[in-house]
């Protein structure tokens, strides 16, 4: 029987190795798998390459991994924000390498990674600093740059509801990068608010299909924590 639920969030991230590439969903704090990030801070894997749209928007996002000196490279579109100080310091002393990818190119590179497309051409960033040094080609009279797929060893995503097969639905703009990152990692780990019986999710409305999710962690609510604490 398929059962992707892990009872223990620490076990769900235990095998992440030093040097792994990690895709982290979310857009600012919305749809951010912050509990998985906290578990990875605890776990301590180092020299990570982290792919995530926003760095520094919130303190419990990728910024926490940076502050804990677990990151050697960042690929993102928006490396600024109120919690970017540690990133800036590490860029200045060369401890972290930064690759900025336009947001749509970043999303498309991850989709390509999940879809078996190794590279594609896009007009985005042609004639700009972010396109500089990249292979270019003219299609329909317009300059395009060649962009390469991104895949991860692991993806951390946040969903709203799941079933034990790994099907996921999201809540509103929580969706953002989560469905696309789910497709592009060898092991996708989802933290979710709720795990329901197989068959309860509407088959027309499953935004991430079971095939893409390998591990599930259900967030424990404050109420449940109280119950657990009180035995």
């Amino acid at each position: 029987m398929i059962q992707k639920k892990f009872e223990n969030i620490a076990k769900a991230v235990a095998d992440i190795h030093d040097g792994a590439t990690l895709l982290v969903g979310g857009f600012g704090g919305s749809g951010l798998p912050s509990h998985l990030i906290a578990a990875l801070v605890e776990q301590g894997a180092k020299n990570l390459t982290v792919v995530s749209n926003n760095i520094g928007a919130v303190s419990d996002g990728v910024a926490a991994l940076i502050s804990n000196n677990q990151v050697k490279k960042i690929i993102c579109s928006f490396p600024v924000g109120p919690h970017a100080d540690d990133l800036i310091a590490r860029l200045q002393n060369g401890a972290i390498e930064l690759e900025i990818s336009p947001q749509g190119t970043l999303a498309e590179r991850i989709r390509a990674g999940g879809s078996g497309i190794p590279a594609f051409y896009t007009p985005t960033a042609a004639h700009t600093e972010l396109g500089a040094g990249k292979e270019t080609r003219v299609f329909n009279g317009r300059l395009h740059v060649l962009e390469y797929a991104i895949t991860g060893d692991y993806a951390f995503i946040k969903g709203h509801r799941a079933d034990r097969w790994g099907n996921l639905v999201y809540n509103k703009t929580q969706r953002n990068f989560n469905p696309v990152m789910a497709t592009a990692a060898r092991i996708t780990i989802a933290e979710v608010d709720e795990i329901v019986e197989v068959g309860e999710l509407d088959p027309e409305n499953i935004a991430t299909q079971s095939v893409y999710v390998h591990r599930l962690v259900k967030l424990v609510t404050l109420r449940e924590e109280e119950v657990l604490a009180n035995g």
Binding site: S30, F78, L91, G104, T105, T124, L130, R175, N176
Partner: protein, 229 residues
Amino acid sequence: MVKDELKVGWSKIQLASRVAQDLEDGWFVNLGIGIPTLVADVIPEGREIILHSENGLLGLGPKPAPGEEDMDLVNAGKEPITLKPGGSFFSQSDSFAMIRGGHLDAAVLGAFQVSMYGDLASWKVPNDPLGRVGGAMDLTVGAKRVFLCMQHCTKKGESKIVEECTYPLTAPRCVDRIYTDLAVIDVTNDGLVVQELAPGVTFKYLQERTAAPLKDLADQLVKGESIQH
């Protein structure tokens, strides 16, 4: 009364209203961070404009009432918003397929600099090791029309409209129209053509505050030149 003499031009909300006036019924429009965001609040009544947010929604509605914010319902600036009936949610890759594929009628964006040829610089100041590109490059190459909505000059009083951008480009030759607190200016094959002056602004006043040559729409029309954009 000296103070009033200094306050020529449009306020931020008037500027947003002026932009909104040009958005047509049924258009799909993306609003950038900053003054462009204000456009959402001043869409003329009776007009249905479907607003797109690049984090993955169509049908962005007004700000929620205090206490009704939902951190799972935010715009591209990560501020709480609402969804209009008819709205929809989708992923980032779908959102940027929509943008890059040319499906948005207009993007209304801010700028650091814009050149007389419509080159846009909006994501990075020179020598900044970071930069904040977000979706700006995708929007400028993808939207059918790129409208800028910005203060005419920087806080230091420098013109944001220039002959050539000195800041890193977001995209070349992409801006169709510039809305500032002082004027509405089209980027045409004939150069920058002033379509409209804000209250109290003269052509001479505007040209003195603009670091690129401007043409007066009236002159252009008299000369019978074609205005294209």
